[in-house]
């Protein structure tokens, strides 16, 4: 039998036309759907999300995380913290997230401390010149904590401690930054 390349052009075109739809349909059927979880049960939703993420939907991680938070808000309880922690540890173990990303996802929502305050440089040189942005980021993070700590985990103590920490940081930064800038004015 002659190879297809040796056949006349019309024959080759006809062959390609026959093959193209089957190739296209093969692509379509292998594309993951990446649907949001339909269940309202957090454990089942997490299992479904894990399956989707492993099946090629990892680019949708943010959306899935948000979906899981929404589902958890429907049944808030302290144990939800553990569910999210285990889900994030699994995501890091599977290589979907770096360890640092997993920590950020967890701490932003479920810890009192503010990840927006991560910095390697001293306050006078780095935090003070960016004070407004730092406080704005903290304010946004406080909204995430309201969701994670208060609405998902019923940890009102934790949330109000975070809220107070925000106010304390605001006060201490105001004083510290005034002191830093006074030093610059003296020079």
């Amino acid at each position: 039998m002659k190879p297809i390349a040796d056949k006349p052009l019309p024959t080759r075109l006809a062959f390609a036309a026959l093959l193209a739809p089957s190739l296209l349909s093969a692509c379509v059927t292998s594309q993951p759907l990446c649907d949001s979880p339909q269940t309202r049960n957090l454990d089942s939703a997490v299992a479904g999300v894990k399956q989707s993420l492993s099946g090629g939907c990892h680019a949708q991680f943010d959306r899935y995380y948000d979906d899981l938070l929404t589902i958890a808000e429907g049944d808030p309880k302290p144990e939800n913290k553990r569910v999210f922690s285990e889900f994030l540890v699994w995501s890091a173990d599977e290589g979907l997230l770096s360890r640092r990303q997993a920590e950020d996802y967890y701490n932003r929502y479920f810890n009192v401390k503010f990840m927006s305050l991560r910095s390697d440089y001293n306050n006078c040189s780095h935090t003070c010149p960016n004070k407004r942005k730092v406080l704005l980021d903290m304010e946004r993070e406080l909204s995430s904590k309201e969701r994670g700590l208060l609405k998902v985990s019923l940890d009102s103590d934790g949330y109000y401690r975070a809220d107070r920490l925000y106010q304390e940081v605001e006060l201490v930064l105001e004083a510290t930054c005034n002191a830093c800038s006074a030093s610059r004015q003296e020079r």
Binding site: K81, S85, V112, K113, H126, T127, G158, L165, L171
Partner: protein
């Protein structure tokens, strides 16, 4: 009259009890944390500056208390004599001149005492400024500052022993210092986190006090001149009574301005779980 800008926005005087209380609490704080590695926000110079400011404030308070008491009595007599609306009556004019003279006395006392007050407040402010800049500004990152504020027991999210942040307005300085004292005296195990807030709060107060004294000094000369002119006519101006009211609220407190800060709702959920991802 611009002197009305003096008092209401931020109560700052009656510094004596507040500053003395602060001096005491600094000593308490210093002894509590003497054996632990700690940030040095309150060196002895700050305590000494506060004590000095307290002494100056006491002198000013004593002098003003007497003259303000006299002003109150004169004002009462003026009202009882139904002088409002009868300003042309010779008796009322005499009373008005007496009130004006007392008002001038008050301005004179303030003029005499304020330079000392300004000097000592500025010393305290500068000392605290240096401490804050070095200890929190240069030696700490925003993360380590947060860790200092949260303290060791962040994970348990306990708030029982933590100080209550009052908000930075609406409360008299002496009341606030009294609270500072109570907080430090009753929460010896807290460590640096409350001291950082305390130092910041006092420093910002001192900054505002300093500005207020500066503005007041600028206005006193003008207010004195105005009143000397008024004396010849025996007039009581509304601004005059406003200034007196303002000074009184600084010295003796203003209940209306006390800010009430709502506490968090009672949390009934246990937080035993700690994630391995937690920072």
């Amino acid at each position: 009259m611009q002197a009305t800008a003096l008092p209401r926005s931020r109560p700052n005087a009656r510094l004596l009890p507040s500053l003395l209380a602060t001096a005491v609490l600094m000593s308490v704080a210093a002894s509590v944390y003497a054996n632990t590695p700690t940030i040095r926000l309150f060196p002895t110079t700050v305590v000494e500056d506060l004590r000095q400011t307290g002494n100056v404030a006491r002198d000013m308070e004593t002098g003003l208390q007497e003259v303000i008491g006299r002003l109150d009595q004169q004002r009462e007599l003026y009202e009882q004599s139904k002088c409002d609306g009868a300003e042309n009556d010779p008796g009322c004019q005499r009373l008005a001149r007496q009130i004006g003279a007392s008002y001038l006395d008050m301005l004179t006392i303030m003029e005499e005492r304020l330079p000392d007050m300004e000097h000592t407040v500025n010393n305290t402010r500068i000392s605290l400024e240096r401490s804050l800049r070095n200890e929190l500004g240069k030696k700490m990152t925003s993360w380590s500052l947060q860790e200092t504020l949260v303290g060791k027991q962040a994970a348990s999210a306990t708030t029982a022993a933590s100080p209550t942040l009052r908000g930075r307005s609406g409360m008299r300085l002496s009341e606030r210092f009294k609270q500072y004292y109570q907080l430090v005296a009753t929460s010896g195990s807290q460590g640096d986190q409350s001291l950082a807030v305390l130092a910041s709060d006092i420093y910002l107060d001192m900054e505002e006090t300093s500005l207020l004294i500066q503005r007041t000094r600028q206005e006193i000369a003008r207010a004195t001149l105005m009143e000397q002119l008024n004396q010849s006519f025996g007039i009581i101006t509304p601004e005059m009574m406003e200034v007196v009211g303002g000074v009184k609220s600084i010295l003796f407190g203003d209940e209306e301005s006390r800010a009430l800060v709502a506490g968090p709702p009672p949390g009934s959920v246990e937080q035993a779980y700690r994630s391995p991802l937690e920072q």
